[in-house]
C-alpha cells in the first residue's frame, strides 16, 4: 500500500515537472512581449531622465500619459496637450485636463487603463509617483520618463527638457525664457529687501512643513522669504514649541479651491500656543494658491503672488481696491475674522502691516 502510494506520487511529480518545464519557457518568453508601441519604424533615442535612468524613448511621442498633476499642467503650458491621451484623477488644471481619460490616482494608477491607452510615453515625477509604478511600466515595456526638480530653476530647466522630449523644443525655450525673465524682474524689485522669516504650513494636524531641500522652500526664497525649518526629512513634522521658539514673521498656507487657507488660519488663531505667535497676533499670514505644491510653470505666478504678500511695501499699489475692512484694523482679532474673498483679505493684511 505505501508502495502504491509512492508510485503514484512519483508519477504525479514527473507529470507536473514535465508540464512546468514545457510551458515555463513560453510563459517566460511571453512576459518579454515587445511593447505594443514598439512598431519598428518609429525613431527612438536614448535619454537619461532626471533620476538617472537611461531610457529609450520615441523621438516624437504621439500618445502621452501623465501621472502627476504638475506634469499635466506643464504639458498644457507647452501647448502639447493634443498628444496627452490620459492623466490622473487629480489632474484638474487647466480645466480642460479634467476631460482627459483618467487612469487612476497618482500613487495608484491603474496599469490596465494605462496599457489600454497604448501610450508611447508615460511621464512621472519622483516626488509624487511610486517606484513600483516605474518598475511595473518597465516590466510591461512601456517607456517612461521621470522628472525630479528640487529648485525653482530646476523646475524651469525640467520644463525645457520635457519640451525636448515631447518634441516641442521651441515652445519649451520660449516658456523657459519667459519664466526666467519674470523671476529676474521679481528679483530686481526685491533687491535689498530683508528676507521675511516664514513658516510654510503643509498640514496642521500633525504640523508638517517643508525642508530647505524642497522646491517650495526655494520658491519662498525667490519670493523674498526664507523658510525657518531646517530638517533632513523633506516633509518634517515639527513641534509647536519649535515654531514658537523660532517666531516666524509670516505664516504661509496653501489655498485649495475651496478657500481653505483663511478658514485654517481663523481656527488656528484660537488655539493655545498658536495664539502666542507674533505672526498670529498680528495677522501676518499669506495665502497662496495650491499651485505652490506643484513643480510646474505656475510656480512662478505663486512666487510673484507670495512676494507681494510678504513685501507689500515694495510693490506699487496692487490692483485690489483699497476698501478698508469692516472692522478697525487696530485690534488683532479683527483681521482674523474669515472674509469672503482672498483679495479682501489680502487688503486687510496689507492694512495691518501698513499700520505697523
Amino acid at each position: 500500500m505505501p508502495d502504491r502510494f509512492r508510485k503514484i506520487v512519483r508519477r504525479a511529480a514527473i507529470g507536473v515537472a514535465s508540464l512546468v518545464s514545457f510551458f515555463a519557457p513560453r510563459l517566460a518568453a511571453q512576459s518579454a512581449l515587445p511593447a505594443v508601441s514598439a512598431v519598428p519604424s518609429v525613431a527612438r533615442h536614448d535619454v537619461v531622465d532626471e533620476v538617472g535612468r537611461s531610457v529609450r524613448l520615441p523621438v516624437n511621442p504621439q500618445r502621452v500619459v501623465s501621472l502627476a498633476p504638475s506634469l499635466t499642467e506643464t504639458i498644457y503650458a507647452l501647448g502639447d496637450d493634443a498628444h496627452l491621451v490620459g492623466d490622473t484623477t487629480y489632474c484638474d488644471y487647466p480645466p480642460d485636463a479634467q476631460k482627459k481619460t483618467k487612469v487612476g490616482g497618482v500613487i495608484d494608477p491603474n496599469l490596465e487603463e494605462i496599457a489600454a491607452l497604448h501610450p508611447d510615453l508615460v511621464l512621472m515625477t519622483k516626488g509624487a509617483n511610486r517606484l513600483d509604478t516605474v518598475r511595473a511600466l518597465d516590466t510591461l515595456g512601456i517607456p517612461s520618463y521621470a522628472t525630479d526638480p528640487h529648485t525653482v530653476d530646476e523646475i524651469i530647466s525640467s520644463t525645457q527638457k520635457l519640451a525636448d522630449i515631447l518634441s516641442v523644443p521651441a515652445a519649451g525655450k520660449s516658456l523657459a525664457d519667459d519664466l526666467r525673465k519674470r523671476l529676474a524682474e521679481l528679483q530686481s524689485e526685491l533687491k535689498g529687501a530683508t528676507p521675511r522669516r516664514v513658516l510654510f504650513i503643509v498640514w496642521l494636524d500633525p504640523l508638517i512643513s517643508v525642508s530647505q531641500k524642497t522646491f517650495i522652500a526655494d520658491a519662498i526664497r525667490q519670493a523674498g522669504g526664507i523658510s525657518i525649518v531646517e530638517s533632513s526629512q523633506e516633509w518634517p513634522q515639527i513641534s509647536l514649541e519649535e515654531v514658537v521658539h523660532l517666531q516666524p514673521e509670516y505664516l504661509v498656507l496653501a489655498n485649495s479651491h475651496t478657500g481653505e487657507g483663511q478658514h485654517d488660519f481663523a481656527a488656528l488663531a484660537t488655539r493655545p500656543g498658536w495664539r502666542n505667535l507674533d505672526a498670529v497676533r498680528n495677522g501676518r499670514y499669506a495665502v497662496v494658491s495650491d499651485a505652490v505644491n506643484r513643480p510646474s510653470p505656475r510656480i512662478v505666478s505663486v512666487i510673484e503672488d507670495l512676494a507681494r504678500q510678504l513685501h507689500p511695501e515694495l510693490f506699487k499699489a496692487p490692483t485690489q481696491p483699497q476698501t478698508p475692512p469692516a472692522n478697525a484694523p487696530e485690534s488683532p482679532t479683527s483681521s482674523l475674522k474669515p472674509v469672503s474673498s482672498q483679495s479682501q483679505h489680502t487688503t486687510a493684511c496689507l492694512e495691518s502691516s501698513c499700520v505697523r
Binding site: 510563459l27 535612468r53 495608484d108 494608477p109 491603474n110 490596465e112 511610486r130 518598475r135 518597465d138 510591461l140
Partner: protein
C-alpha cells in the same frame, strides 16, 4: 468508519482545483478594461503553445502581462499563507494562530523598510530593484524567525506557549521599530511603504520572482506535508504525541522553519495580508475535518481561491482605483471570523 484514502484525497483536491480554475478564468476576464472570454481563451491557448505573434494587442499585454502574473501571485500567496496558518495552528495547538503570530510579518516589514532606505541612496537599476524589497524582507523574516525560536525555547526544546509569547513580543517590538523608522523616512518613500504594509498585489512582480515563489512554496509546503500524520497526533498534546511515536522535536523544528519560510515569502512580495492564513484553515476544517493530510492541500487550494477572489474584487469594485487586498480580506474575513466564533471554532 471512513478513513481518508488517496483516491478520496485526490478527488477532493481535484474539485477544489477545478473551482480554482474557474475562478482564475473569471478573474482574467474582469478588470478595469473589458476583455472578451473568447479572445481571452484564444490568446491564452496561443501563449501556451508558444505563438508569440498574433496576440490581439488589446488583450495580450493586459491579460498576459498584467492580470495573469497578478493572479498567479495571488494564488501562490494565498496558498502559502493558508498552509502556514494551518501549520502554526497545529504547531502551537491554538486555533487563533495565524501566520503572523510568530513575528514573521513584522520582521519582513522591517526588512522592506530597510530596503526602501537603501533604495533612497542608490538610483533605480531595474534588474536589481525588483528583487531588493522581497530579498530584504525575506532576510528580515528569517531574522525574526530565528530570534523568536531562540527566545521560545525551553530546556532546548520548543515549548508552544513560550513560543507564542515570544512571537507576540517580537511582533510588538518589530512593529514599534517599523513605526519609528517610518517617522524618520521622507515623504515619497513613506507613500509606497504604507501601501506595502497593508498588503497589495498592485506591484507587478518580475516573472522570475514568480517562479522563485512557486518553487519555494512547493518545497516548503511539500516538506510540511510529509509531517501531516505527525501533525494530526501533535494536536493531542506533545507528551501524548511522543508516546504515540511522533518525534516531536524534529517535527516542530521542521514545521516551524517551513511555515515561517512560507510566510516570509508571501509577506515579502505582498505585504501582510490578514485573515487568510487564520480563516481558510478553519473553513476547510469545517468542510473536510482536521486530518492534515486533507487539510493542508485543501487549505492551499482554498487560500488560492479566496485570495484570487479578493484581489479581483480589490481591483474591480472601484475601478480604475484599487482597494488594497488587505482591506478586502478584512471586510470579508471579520464577519466570517465572528460567525466561526459563534459556531465554536469547529
Amino acid at each position: 468508519m471512513r478513513p481518508l484514502t488517496l483516491s478520496r484525497l485526490l478527488l477532493r483536491c481535484g474539485i477544489l482545483a477545478a473551482i480554482l480554475f474557474v475562478v482564475v478564468v473569471i478573474a482574467l476576464k474582469m478588470g478595469a478594461v473589458q476583455v472578451s472570454l473568447y479572445g481571452l481563451g484564444r490568446d491564452l491557448i496561443r501563449v501556451l503553445l508558444g505563438h508569440s505573434g498574433g496576440l490581439s494587442t488589446d488583450y495580450g499585454m493586459i491579460v498576459v502581462d498584467i492580470r495573469l502574473p497578478r493572479i498567479l501571485l495571488a494564488i501562490v500567496v494565498g496558498a502559502s499563507l493558508s498552509v502556514a496558518g494551518a501549520s502554526f495552528q497545529a504547531l502551537l495547538r491554538n486555533p487563533l494562530a495565524d501566520p503572523y503570530v510568530l513575528g514573521v510579518s513584522s520582521g519582513a516589514a522591517v526588512g522592506s523598510i530597510i530596503a526602501l532606505l537603501i533604495e533612497n541612496q542608490l538610483s533605480f537599476s531595474p534588474a536589481f530593484s525588483g528583487f531588493l524589497t522581497p530579498f530584504c524582507a525575506s532576510i528580515g523574516a528569517g531574522a525574526a524567525i530565528a530570534a523568536v525560536y531562540f527566545l521560545g525555547r525551553r530546556d532546548g526544546r520548543i515549548d508552544s506557549s513560550t513560543l507564542l509569547l515570544s512571537g507576540i513580543i517580537a511582533s510588538s517590538f518589530l512593529s514599534a521599530i517599523v513605526m519609528f523608522l517610518m517617522s524618520t523616512l521622507s515623504g515619497g518613500n513613506l507613500r509606497g511603504y504604507s501601501y506595502w504594509l497593508m498588503g497589495s498585489f498592485s506591484t507587478l512582480p518580475p516573472t522570475s520572482l514568480l517562479y522563485l515563489l512557486g518553487i519555494g512554496f512547493l518545497i516548503a509546503a511539500g516538506v510540511i506535508y510529509t509531517t501531516a500524520s505527525d501533525l494530526n497526533l501533535l494536536l493531542a498534546g506533545e507528551k501524548e504525541a511522543m508516546h504515540l511515536g511522533v518525534d516531536v522535536h524534529r517535527v516542530q523544528i521542521v514545521v516551524y522553519i517551513a511555515a515561517s519560510v512560507l510566510t516570509g515569502l508571501a509577506v515579502s512580495v505582498s505585504g501582510a495580508i490578514g485573515y487568510v492564513g487564520l480563516l481558510i484553515p478553519h473553513a476547510m476544517r469545517l468542510i473536510f475535518g482536521s486530518d492534515h493530510r486533507m487539510l493542508l492541500p485543501a487549505s492551499a487550494l482554498g487560500g488560492a481561491i479566496a485570495l484570487v477572489i479578493a484581489d479581483t474584487a480589490a481591483r474591480t469594485v472601484v475601478a480604475p482605483s484599487e482597494i488594497q487586498v488587505g482591506a478586502v480580506t478584512a471586510v470579508i474575513g471579520a464577519p466570517f471570523f465572528i460567525y466561526l466564533l459563534r459556531r465554536g471554532l469547529s
